[in-house]
């Protein structure tokens, strides 16, 4: 009996000590969180930084974690100089090691990948430094523009914080909270014009700057080709114009002297120079005219090409400011413009 009592008391004491031990661990486990810079795949570095910072701010606002400041977190570059990709910190070992160096309890590492024209995949991992394990892994799909990406980052921040993302966050009515850039706010004050179809936009871009429409339409090689061709022609034209201008200056100077000169010797000296300079101006002028013809031809081809390769929107549906449709009753294709 005494033995049984002794065992029960021993277990009780052990449980009490265990509870005490757990308590001491929970005291040590704080809520310091470091958000490592997200890695961007096929998206620009400033955008990645902006999205990471937005994510960081959202998590901080939710007050579930004490989010470490961006400047301190980025000090890990000093600890471990490496390239700007954090894939090497996708593993537990790396993240936990960094978390210890940064003196935080949790670490979030992630990446943003561009999967298609307008589709993005956001991945993130939450590591516990104290428990030396990965607590959670997140993956979100986003399609659309930067605003949509920001929304997804906010959703991820809610997920990381263990909260449910509010409905108002996803309906897109509260975009002003998401738009951190002043430019976006400024755009909202402007008159909202009807959307421009992608083909027309590409056409306009390539009209203004050859090749830019193709580049915008993700046809980079043809785009750079057109841009390079026009640049080469432009450079050749500039060189030809410089030569022409030089010859024209020489022609004018010598011809003026010739007209006022009375000494036959000087006149005989000037005569061949005038003829040579005049021939040079004609040569360079003809060269420039040829360049103009070729350049304009390439320009037109570039415009048509940009129109053809641009994504085909369904812009003949009446929502846009013009509508092209076939009227079988009059057997005509009609263009309607809406204001």
């Amino acid at each position: 009996m005494y033995l049984i009592r002794g065992i029960i008391i021993f277990h009780f004491v052990c449980i009490c000590f265990a509870a005490e031990t757990t308590k001491s661990i929970s005291v040590r486990t704080g809520n310091q969180l470091a958000v490592l810079e997200f890695e961007g795949w096929s998206i620009s570095e400033p955008l990645t930084q902006h999205l990471t910072e937005e994510f960081r701010e959202t998590v901080r606002d939710l007050k579930m974690y004490q989010v470490q400041d961006r400047g301190i977190t980025n000090q890990f570059n000093i600890f471990k100089p490496r390239k700007k990709d954090y894939w090497s910190c996708w593993s537990e070992e790396c993240a936990i090691d960094l978390g210890r160096r940064l003196n935080v309890n949790y670490v979030i590492a992630g990446n943003i990948q561009k999967k298609g024209d307008d589709e993005f995949l956001i991945k993130g991992r939450l590591f516990s430094v104290d428990m030396e394990t990965m607590l959670n892994e997140f993956a979100l799909n986003s399609s659309g523009i930067t605003d949509s990406l920001l929304l997804e980052m906010k959703k991820m921040a809610y997920n990381v914080s263990g909260l449910v993302a509010p409905d108002t966050l996803s309906v897109g009515t509260d975009l002003s909270q998401v738009a951190a850039s002043d430019d976006i706010k400024r755009k909202r004050q402007w008159i909202q014009l009807p959307p421009i179809p992608s083909k027309i936009k590409a056409l306009m871009m390539s009209t203004a700057l050859p090749g830019s429409g193709q580049i915008w339409a993700e046809r980079k090689y043809p785009g750079y080709g057109f841009m390079g061709a026009e640049a080469t022609l432009g450079l050749a034209a500039l060189i030809a114009y410089y030569q022409y201008d030089k010859a024209w200056g020489g022609f004018q100077e010598n011809y003026t002297k010739y007209q006022s000169e009375t000494d036959p010797h000087e006149i005989m000296e000037l005569r061949p120079q005038i003829i040579q300079y005049a021939a040079d101006t004609k040569t360079y002028n003809a060269f420039m005219k040829n360049i103009r013809s070729v350049g304009l031809s390439i320009w037109v081809v570039n415009m048509v090409h940009a129109y053809l390769v641009a994504p085909n929107d369904d812009f003949f549906d009446g929502e846009y400011f013009f509508d092209l449709e076939y009227k079988p009753d009059v057997n005509q294709v009609q263009l309607n413009v809406n204001f």
């Binding site: 640049a231 114009y241 010739y258 007209q259 036959p264 005569r271 300079y277 101006t281 002028n285 420039m288």
Partner: protein, 183 residues
């Protein structure tokens, strides 16, 4: 605006301006200077008077250059100049650049008879040259005084000839003429 966007914008402007500025005017000219020997219907090598027409007044002095057009290298010349002694008289003759060399002065002999002036010019050889390089240069300048309103025509006589350093004839295909109008 990022640097890349600025570069794109500048490149676009440059390209457009380049293509717009591609057309310039062609050089149009007319080599019609009356003092141009090419407009004097001379067949070079030639000798001519410059200026070919002089308007002056009685008792006024004026000068006429005896010019060579695309002459071959020469070392001496005999210029037989004919004029109307009743309208003008020769004051002096000065040699010009055609026979100048390092050895300056050269020799010039003037034999002025009525209506004819014979000018003998020699290039004095130096260590480098014994004849000139030819070309279009003035051989000599003749100073006249108009004595009456009769005026005078200026011609090269049949004794006009040129020689090179080997005393071989230097061909002159055509001779120009001049005219002096006296008011």
């Amino acid at each position: 605006m990022s640097i890349f966007k600025q570069m794109k914008f500048a490149f676009g402007i440059l390209t457009i301006l380049s293509l717009l500025n591609l057309s310039c005017e062609d050089a149009v000219y007319d080599l019609d200077n009356p003092n141009d020997p090419e407009n004097m219907d001379l067949d070079p090598p030639a000798l001519f008077f410059h200026p070919s027409e002089i308007n002056t007044k009685v008792d006024s002095s004026f000068s006429v250059q005896l010019y060579g057009l695309k002459l071959n290298p020469a070392a001496a010349a005999h210029l037989d100049v004919r004029y109307d002694w009743r309208g003008v008289q020769v004051d002096s003759v000065v040699a010009d650049t055609f026979f100048q060399s390092l050895n300056d002065p050269f020799q010039i002999v003037i034999d002025d008879r009525q209506g004819t002036v014979d000018i003998f010019i020699y290039l004095l050889p130096d260590t480098l040259i014994d004849q000139n390089e030819g070309g279009t240069w003035s051989l000599a300048t003749v100073y006249f005084t108009a004595t009456s309103t009769r005026g005078s025509e200026l011609l090269f006589g049949e004794n006009t000839r040129m020689r090179d350093a080997n005393n071989d004839p230097v061909g002159v295909r055509s001779f120009g003429s001049g005219f002096i109008n006296v008011e």
